[in-house]
Amino acid sequence: MRKTLAKNIFLNINSIKKFRTIKIQVDFLRPLKKEETTSRRLLANVMSNSTANYPSFRSINDREMELYGSEINVFTRNLLNFNDLAFSVEFADPNFLIDGQTQIKDNLELLNEIIFKPNLAGKEFDHISFETEKRNLISNLISIQDNQDLVSTLGLTKLIYQNNPDRQVPIFGSVDQLNNLTNEKLLEMYQDVIQNDTIVINVVGNVDEEKFAEDILTSGFYTQMNSERPDLKIEFDKFNQLIANPAEKIEHKHLNQSRIALAFATEGVSKKFNRLAPQIMNLILGGDDQSQLFQQVREKNSLAYSVSSTYQPLSHLVTIQAGLDSDSVQKALELISQQIDFIKNGKFSDNQVQHAQKVMLTRRKIATDSIQYYIMRSIWETVYPKTLMSDEQFQAELDNLDREHIASVANNLHAIAQYQLIGDSND
């Protein structure tokens, strides 16, 4: 069931019986702005810390446990050129509980409490909640420096988006911005979010759609979410400058293992070509354990334990990451380049193409065994339906794949960024 509650406020209810849990997720979307990234993340943390009626983290947790371990989750993420502040509650389907009591209304009320009844002290959030979460977030941001895979990903992202200031601040924020963020400013941000963000509500699980819609429309949710919101404008980054002048950065750290991360734009691939060709090309290049990178860099040359490539369909970027000895970096870069040439020159076998087709189909169907798949699909249907394919369209695209299209994607790969995190030498 789909309903529009007001302009740019959407409700999607998907009654599916196969899961043991029910999930309600509310996504608040607005364009990414570098000034807001940190405050939206802190807002997520402060709002899940306490509420007006559950004034401590402890009391919220007690309530979650009472409801058979309901899981409240509040987080931010990038979605297209938007910042998505998402609130969710997932809870056990009462049909599987020992006492079988229904808790849909209780869980809806708990989510309503988290989103719309913040723990306030005058014109600010509760002082303890704010200070605790600010300190926590600073601590987490410092710890990130010790996660070398993430450091390498962030290093690459910074290079890729060097011409887009709004993407320069990582989605989890920055210590500098946090230090300057006041409690009062955070509350202003909250009020702005509640009044102006586009909202997508999704419900997935064993629910009666009509009854659930009625519960939503008669709950605190609806009274807070019936005012219209501005339209969202979808924008994509252009990488022309980087294609002309690729970005490169090498950093050194005392590490046992070095990391390399590379990004390629796929500009110039004919629009008439198969929509799945880039993903098939990526699977052959480094998408799984049968790929060229895995077989040549890891299995044949024993250079790396982890090496893979990923295709990002919205930005049309291919990224490659590997962890290896600092002494092997040059050899690995040469091997990576050889694997791209291998595809460019059409040397891949028909078996490799068939395998990639099979993997694409399998991944798509297995994804439907997860509750999150339905929520994401529904968000895309609401925000950017163009990106979705029906099962029939997907199958038709797979069936019509052409080797020439796959090679063409590789021929249109343009190196735009390379980040190296170099550790200690083994010598």
Partner: protein, 412 residues
């Protein structure tokens, strides 16, 4: 109406247990074969094996003459993987189609070793890279260090993958003899979750080349050295990490050990879980951040709790835990209402896991070695009484079974 999970099960004449759990509405079939053999199993009657040998076998079993098993799985549309823990090794596949062909490949994977000097040498380089990757992860290093304090000189203190040095001692011969010792039907079990026919599965497994072994399984009685004093080391990290460990020298095994693990989890949840007064207080005092966690491990011969997180004041953190992880504190806060909430939470977690075929298969395979039926876990949790939990706490929350380890930033 959604059905509750059910299973079909049989122990074959060769000693291998097979379980099949249908998952109506799910597209995938997930299969796992698990051996009751992990990284700690390095002590044999003939001496000590190099650290990391279980993990090396896990990697190298995929190699067969002229083909690699992952390639075969891929041909039949499955993706495959494997993992080694302290006490278990598991091989798994996930597929949409051809479940029976993929089952045959899984059986080939676990039954037909092909170790050569050449393929062993090439795997060493890959595993060495895996070890180097983990050595850059402070949380992983910290776990090894605290285990070396809880169980001094015991194999559990070694990295699951071994070390660059121990890898050099692993060769074709010791891989094969260790494989033969542990990969036998009565030391393994097989679980398939999804839409498969039990009789077909049984038939395929019966026909496979997995023979009963008459010699009894080797059992090692572990004797542990006394718990070591706390320690620290400096590392190139941005923030200190601290671990507090408690060793539980329990006489429980099998079903009772699993039940005790639930009870210990309930104690920890009450004393330092997110709904506890202590969690709130540690958070307000700045002693913990979001990385704070506790983990109760109860596996063959080993039972311990590790509490860890990033913090700027490891000493105060440990002092706080020492003062608050006590039977008296628990008695004060574990009211009937609190106990019921914690029990409900445990039941909820059990149901959450049932959304994932892989979680069902892996837990069912693991619990088999403890004589626990995964589908009956909900009843086990429901049968736990507050008095049992208090009794366990009185027995194990004492001064002389804990230690700590800190990783401190190497500031220049």
């Amino acid at each position: 109406m959604t059905e509750k999970l059910e299973k079909q099960t049989k122990k074959l004449n060769n000693g291998l247990q097979i379980n099949v759990v249908p998952m109506p509405g799910f597209n995938q079939v997930y299969g796992v074969a698990m051996a009751n053999f992990g990284s700690v199993d390095t002590q044999t009657n003939k001496g000590t094996l190099p650290a990391g040998i279980a993990h090396f076998i896990e990697h190298k079993l995929f190699a067969k003459p002229n083909y690699d098993v992952s390639e075969k799985f891929a041909q039949y549309g499955a993706n495959s993987n494997a993992y080694t823990s302290y006490t278990k090794t598991a091989y798994l596949f996930q597929t949409l189609d051809n479940p029976y062909d993929n089952l045959k490949i899984l059986l080939d994977l676990i039954q037909n070793p092909y170790f050569t000097d050449k393929n062993v040498a090439s795997e060493r380089g890959i595993i060495d890279q895996e070890i180097q990757m983990y050595l850059d992860m402070p949380e992983w290093v910290l776990e090894q260090r605290i285990l070396s304090k809880l169980y001094p000189n015991d194999p559990i203190a070694e990295d699951i993958a071994g070390s660059s040095d121990s890898l050099k001692q692993i060769n074709r011969q010791n891989l094969l003899s260790t494989y033969q010792q542990n990969y036998r039907p009565d030391n393994m079990n097989l679980v398939l979750v999804g839409d498969v026919d039990f009789e077909k599965v049984e038939n395929i497994v019966e026909k496979s080349n997995f023979h009963q072994v008459d010699t009894p399984l080797q059992k090692i009685n572990r004797q542990f050295d006394p718990i070591g004093r706390g320690g620290f080391e400096k590392m190139d990290i941005s923030q200190a990490r601290s671990a507090y460990g408690i060793r539980i020298d329990t006489e429980m095994s099998g079903y009772n050990l699993v039940k005790e693990q639930f009870q210990l989890n309930m104690i920890m949840e009450t004393l330092i879980g997110e709904s506890s007064k202590n969690y709130q207080e540690m958070s307000n005092l700045g002693l913990i951040d979001d990385s704070f966690s506790y983990n109760v491990v109860a596996e063959n011969n080993y039972c311990f709790i590790i509490i860890s997180g990033s913090n700027n004041n490891p000493q105060k953190f440990q002092e706080y835990l020492r003062n608050h992880l006590t039977y008296d504190s628990l008695k004060e806060v574990l009211t009937d209402a609190k106990f019921n909430r914690i029990k409900r939470d445990a039941i909820g977690s059990y149901l959450f896991a049932q959304n994932a075929p892989e979680a069902i298969a892996n837990q069912m395979a693991e619990l088999y070695f403890y004589d626990v039926d995964y589908l009956e876990l909900i009843n086990m949790i429901d049968s736990i009484k507050k008095e049992d939990v208090l009794m366990i706490a009185e027995k194990f929350l004492k001064d002389n079974n804990s230690t700590y380890y800190n990783l401190l930033p190497n500031r220049k």
